[in-house]
């Protein structure tokens, strides 16, 4: 739902409506569908915020306090064992997800707590291994969630009795729009926490450190300062937010504003709203850019007509220019175009890089696992092996995902550049006047102009400056890269692995039996890792394919639009040649007015885009 209070957003909505009216009037059906798609996208953005941290630091309490509801289980002796997604809904609803079905199955909200703490099945048969859910979804009527915010409470990372599934949190980081890292005020950040923080920051730069339980620990200010020091030394520059969930609950109960401020939650809510706004802004920037490009095409058509009417002598030259432009546009659409070649080549490179990466990473895990099996005593030592294997594979896959994103970035940037340059050359050739968004760029500043053109075409992709301003990032987002991300890896073979390794009680330490057991364990581990590799490879290849398809579709669409533009311009030219003298005077007048109006509208669009991008939204490339 759009944020009614944001004037810029309303301006973008209004712009889209106006632009849609114009393109409908001009019967450009292709532009109509593009703008409609943009408007639909704007209506339902989501901003996923992950709440992560070590076991027992107050993550679930934080989410509950933020929403003033008990959606997450918080007892110390039961741990959150599956991720919980909380989004807006007009009424309280709960559902479970598991890997097989894409949709959530509804459940009774009162049973949610049992599901969340029960955790997915474990072969070693701890008392709590009975649930079937891989994730739980909750819809709640809360103002904070209204603009598309999705809060994700995750199982604690770093050990404890449920470490295996907590490791999947790492992989969910890759698709998060913002991260709240939770540590409590009882002690300073430990080495393990800092490691996790660093990894989180690499995968998602919009990060904040929440320091919880400040009501309980008198020395919380010292801890905050010590933590700030640790962060600085680690090269991390995130803000620290001191919070207290009990204070907030109490404050809301008795209606004490001073207490609400003391609880620290207003600052957290501000961070979240900011994250949502930024996500929405980039979506809005993309929409505005699309509107701008559409309007520009209309402007160029009218300008051609106007030119033809005002200056009939230049007709032949104009015809020549537009014919040339049409030829270039056909070239752009053709398979021999440079951007397509680049796409093919770079996707090929990406494929090999991705394949090699997954092979190497999993080979390392295999080697380490064999090493451990060989050196640790069978029995006790192996019970620890299972969570270690889950952790290692999940870490490897998380790093692999980062590689995919980086590669997607590279591919998109290169292709966009190629396309942008070609598109710009096309426009210059047709001498339509200003290209891109910056009206003041003059023809001879070719370098800057090309840059502006690239930026323009990137924007036309619907990509704004988001999360580092890199183009590829949003492509991967849009392409829906989800390598089983938020849901933990629940392969059936994992249960077998757990059963074998968990069988730490065995008959005797005789050498022969030890050898046999070791062989069995090695088989189980190898089987598990094979399965992981097969799945991961398939997912990676799917990801590469999706990036390929997405880029191709988007850019081919643009090329088609440009082509359609050139065709229409040629038609306009041919039409106006045949007009008679008197009619053309009136026509000229009408056209001038139209042109002025459309140009004004286009300028409005351009200004909006500049405004949306001019805000500091993440780090520049």
């Amino acid at each position: 739902m759009p944020a009614e209070h944001d004037p810029v957003r309303s301006a973008v909505d209004a712009l889209l409506d106006d632009a849609l009216a114009e393109v409908r009037a001009a019967t450009r059906e292709d532009l109509v569908s593009r703008l409609t798609a943009e408007r639909d996208r704007l209506a339902g953005p989501t901003c996923a915020v992950l709440v992560i941290g070590e076991f027992n630091k107050g993550k679930s309490s934080l989410v509950n306090a933020l929403l003033n509801a008990r959606v997450c289980a918080t007892d110390a002796d039961v741990a959150t064992a599956v991720p919980t997604f909380v989004r807006y809904g007009d009424q309280l609803l709960a559902g479970t997800r598991n890997g097989q079905h894409p949709d959530a199955c509804p459940v009774d909200p009162t049973t949610v707590e049992a599901l969340v703490t029960a955790g997915p099945e474990r072969g070693t048969g701890t008392e709590r291994g009975t649930a079937v859910a891989a994730a739980v979804e909750i819809a709640l009527p809360r103002a904070l969630l209204r603009d598309g915010l999705v809060l994700v409470d995750t199982p604690g990372v770093g050990g404890g009795l449920h470490s295996a599934h907590a490791a999947a949190t790492l992989r969910a980081l890759a698709s998060a729009d913002a991260v709240v890292f939770v540590s409590d005020a009882s002690q300073e950040l430990t080495a393990a926490e800092l490691d996790l923080l660093r990894r989180a920051a690499q995968l998602c730069p919009r990060l904040v450190l929440a320091l919880t339980k400040i009501d309980f620990y008198p020395e919380w200010r010292r801890i905050r300062d010590i933590d700030a020091g640790h962060l600085g030394r680690a090269g991390l520059s995130c803000e620290i937010l001191p919070l207290s969930a009990p204070l907030r609950h109490h404050a809301l109960r008795v209606g004490d504003r001073g207490l609400v401020a003391d609880s620290g939650f207003p600052a957290l809510a501000a961070f979240l709203r900011d994250a949502v706004a930024t996500t929405a802004r980039s979506a809005a920037a993309g929409a505005a850019a699309a509107a701008h490009s559409a309007l520009h095409q209309l402007v160029s058509e009218l300008a051609t007509e106007h030119g033809a009417l005002a200056d009939p002598d230049g007709q032949r030259q104009r015809l020549a220019q537009w014919t040339e432009a049409k030829r270039r546009a056909e070239e752009l659409r053709g398979a021999a175009s440079r951007w397509q070649q680049t796409l093919v080549d770079r996707i090929g490179d990406m494929s090999s890089a991705v394949d090699f990466d997954i092979t190497t990473r999993l080979r390392t895990v295999r080697r380490d696992a064999s090493g451990r099996l060989a050196t640790t005593e069978p029995g006790r030592g192996w019970v620890e092996l299972e969570p270690w294997i889950h952790q290692s594979t999940n870490e490897a896959l998380a790093d692999h995902l980062r590689l995919i994103k980086e590669q997607a970035d590279l591919v998109t940037d290169e292709v966009a550049e190629q396309f942008g340059v070609a598109a710009w050359e096309l426009r210059v050739e047709a001498d339509v006047g200003a290209v891109g968004l910056n009206e003041t760029i003059v023809g001879d500043e070719t370098g800057l102009a090309a840059l502006a053109a690239t930026r323009a075409s990137i924007l036309e992709l619907g990509i704004g400056a988001m999360r580092g301003g890199s183009a590829g990032v949003l492509v991967t987002h849009a392409a829906g890269l989800v390598i089983g991300l938020a849901l933990p890896v629940t392969l059936p073979v994992a249960a077998l692995l757990a059963a074998v390794l968990g069988r730490f009680t065995w008959r005797s330490a005789k050498a022969a039996q030890a050898r046999m057991l070791r062989a069995e364990a090695e088989r189980a581990v190898a089987g598990y890792l094979d399965e992981v590799e097969v799945r991961a490879r398939k997912d990676s290849r799917d990801a590469v394919r999706r990036v390929n398809q997405h880029l191709r579709t988007v850019f081919a669409g643009h090329a088609a639009e440009l082509h359609a533009s050139t065709v229409r311009n040629l038609e306009v030219l041919t039409r106006s040649v045949r007009a008679d003298q008197k009619g053309s005077q009136q026509q000229l007048g009408r056209t001038s007015d139209e042109l002025a109006r459309l140009r004004a509208l286009a300028a409005r669009a351009g200004a909006l885009v500049d405004e949306l991008l001019g805000e500091p939204v993440g780090q520049p490339r």
Binding site: T124, W220, I223, P246, L247, E377, F504, S508
Partner: protein
Amino acid sequence: MTGPLAERLRTLLADATAAYAGTPEQETLRAMSRRLDDPLRVAIAGRVKAGKSTLLNALLGERLAATDAGECTRVVTWYTHGVASRAWAHPRGAPPRQLPFDVRDGQTELELGGLRAEDLDRLVVEVPSARLERLVLIDTPGVGSLSAEVSARTTAAMGAAGTAAAAEGAPVADAVLYLMRHLHATDVSFLESFHDSQFAGVTPVNAIGVLSRADEVGAGRADAIDLAGRVAADYRRDPRVRGLVQTVLPVAGLLAQAAAGLRERDYAALSALAGADAVGEALVLSADRFVAPVPDSPVELGVRHELLAAFGLSGVRLSLALIRGGLVADSGALARELRRRSGLDALRGALLTQFTERRDLLKAQAALGAVERVLAARSVPGSDRLRAQVESVLVGAHELTELRLLNDLRTGVVELADPELCEEAEALLGIAGVEVRSRLRLPANAPEEDLRPAAIAALRRWQRRGESPIADAATRRAAGVLRRTCEGLLAATPPSRTSVPARPTVDLR
């Protein structure tokens, strides 16, 4: 250390020392010989901020170790008995130096002077405390510290596999109190690293897990300590934990420390707060508010600061609840209640039965372990003879065999089919205490005449199980050891006039 076991150990060590003359291992063996007569060394280990120093202070009854919000203990510190209070610094490769210290506000503070933590092997604090007459307590820096080097000092001192101490063959401590606030991967890997070697220093027999800072579980919930009890029970049942420590006990060190140092004026202040209703409620809402300047507070700011520092917010809330609820009427009663709830007494009991009463055995285990390690590290002429000697010591001391079986049962090397059987076996072997009643799983106040029948019944059971044709190797081994244990128990329990005879009498009339 006295007794036949001690004699055999001394002989063994003397022979080994002679055999390894001229090698670096000789020094290890000599040191081990000297240690036989030293008090039991109990190390307190755990992650950073687990509450080790606070617990140490609570055990000793005085605030010797420094505690602080930030990371504090940086050097391994020994607390041992001495006729006067003194502190010594032992720099690496240099003779020990005496250190000045003074006591401020009840807290002892050591002056390191120009010495740096990195240069010190350890600090030794001598205190004329009765509690240290049979124990040496070793406070260690936390593991998992961001300063990896600091944590490394603990792992090195404890003799983890691969460190210098392990190479020397002798971990510093005979037993370990391992503190954790909740089980973390770092804890498990830390404890596991001492299990790597076969002759490791830390086993389920000489390690007790402590769920520390129990008053903070749930961050300020009124039933924090009950909750901590449940969490500890969970950990006790977990197979990984069982293979590492004998049991897990919840302890709130700060509460125990506060109880020990409770003064009349503290009680008066707490009473005043308890009676102040609305103002009192508002004050305990958060730590900040408790020490905020409030106009109509019944207790002045300075006193509130002291209360918070000594009791913690949880302790203050608990005390107020106890006073309001009429459960305590004076400072003595409050101190007793707090002490009871802190779990310190249960811990002291475990320390007594598990460590102190087993002192000789633990020392013997450590000594034998050292010899075995040395034998494995280097072969010299006479190694075989020494190995045979080790074997004979083991065979000759049933208590050591019991310890080994106990260790194997816990770590899964030996598995008995039925968990019930396992529990009975562990109890008989003395996991909960070496005293007869603990072994037979009878209550502490069970009358004398119940002991013998129980012992006979146990003996018969294990005879049957050992002789059963379907018994596997593990059961037979366990049965063999347990039969001997039961026979020992029988020998220790005097026959009473009403005891059941071993064979039913036949009435021939």
